[in-house]
């Protein structure tokens, strides 16, 4: 999995002649840093500019508003999902994929994203929930589909299992138990979910 840019070295020592992508990265890093320290409500374009050792104009040229900047910073900081695991059986593939999702959920940008959604007003909620859907949920569902299709090909999984409701079960459970039970999804819990929920759900007819 690509590592988060959150932990990159601060840009404080960068040359004042930073341009283009280099300056943009420094600003996005500074925005994530500010989000971690002062939160969504405390974050200002001035504060981010100061943290990135640049001027406010450099920010407004790229992002018309604070929410545009924060959305970009979160997207750029979130770990990316790797390709669909291909470990020879659906149980190991699902486990490997769930571990990747857990890593994103509990990355610093992942935690910050949930905090922003809680802190921002209703008007912005939809936008930041869209960041979760587009950058975590949808890619997860696509990889789940690939894992399940391979299981169907091996005869391990019933032929009609690549269904939207089945594919949503993993992200739904991970979100629900994290929110409602405070679960951090230990390896054991992930295994239990696969063994007690997903494998009985996916087993071929007659099995």
């Amino acid at each position: 999995m690509a590592t988060s840019r959150w932990t990159a070295a601060p840009a404080r020592t960068a040359s004042p002649r930073r341009r283009g992508a280099v300056l943009e990265h420094a600003i996005l890093d500074a925005a994530l840093e500010q989000l971690g320290t002062v939160g969504w409500k405390g974050l200002t374009m001035e504060g981010v500019a100061a943290e990135a050792q640049t001027g406010k104009a450099a920010l407004y040229r790229r992002w018309p508003s604070k929410e545009d900047l924060v959305a970009d910073a979160l997207v750029s900081g979130l770990p990316r999902l790797e390709a669909a695991p291909d470990l020879g059986n659906v149980r190991e593939d699902l486990l490997a994929l769930c571990r990747q999702v857990r890593q994103i959920m509990f990355s610093r940008p992942g935690i910050a994203l949930r905090a922003v959604i809680h802190e921002c007003d209703q008007l912005h909620t939809e936008r930041f929930e869209g960041v979760i859907v587009g950058n975590v949920v949808e890619p997860t569902v696509e990889l789940l589909r690939a894992v399940i299709m391979r299981g169907i090909g091996r005869g391990e999984v019933r032929s009609d299992a690549a269904d939207g409701y089945v594919l949503d079960a993993v992200p739904a459970m991970m979100m629900y138990r994290s929110k409602m039970c405070g679960s951090e999804w230990s390896d054991r819990e992930l295994e239990e979910m696969i063994d007690r929920l997903m494998l009985p759900l996916l087993r071929p007819y007659g099995a």
Copy 2:
């Protein structure tokens, strides 16, 4: 299902000599009314007292704080789950139960409860999420368990299906799709979830 007290007639015309349970109900109704008009942040003990045509002292004698009053008002206003449906087969029972859950989620107090959780600060979030867990999620899971146990008894459901992960699948999916896709869970979506997710998950081994 018991109807919500939210829609009860306002207490404005009540006698000034209201006492005990009558006065308490009038205050709880006034709190729900205020929640619907000014929201969590706008709600004050003074405002609720005025709405209920009583004094602040009558409120503080019963609820030491705004959050205690609002939590009680939400709990008292939420529709209650009926007994577990018993319609002769697991598909119809699950559908009937899901329709009850939907009715609670989209009742005015159910909507207000989600709005309060979004509006209140982190300190109070846990308390109001506890209201959902204790008054919606846990009762739902218990009724699901009863429905599934009856299905096991009829040989319709595999014998090890009354498992925590299986029981969480319905509330997890209902919360997830409502939050992430804005789903209002039409009858058709409920049927699809039962037919594509729950029945394949519950079917006996060998089926």
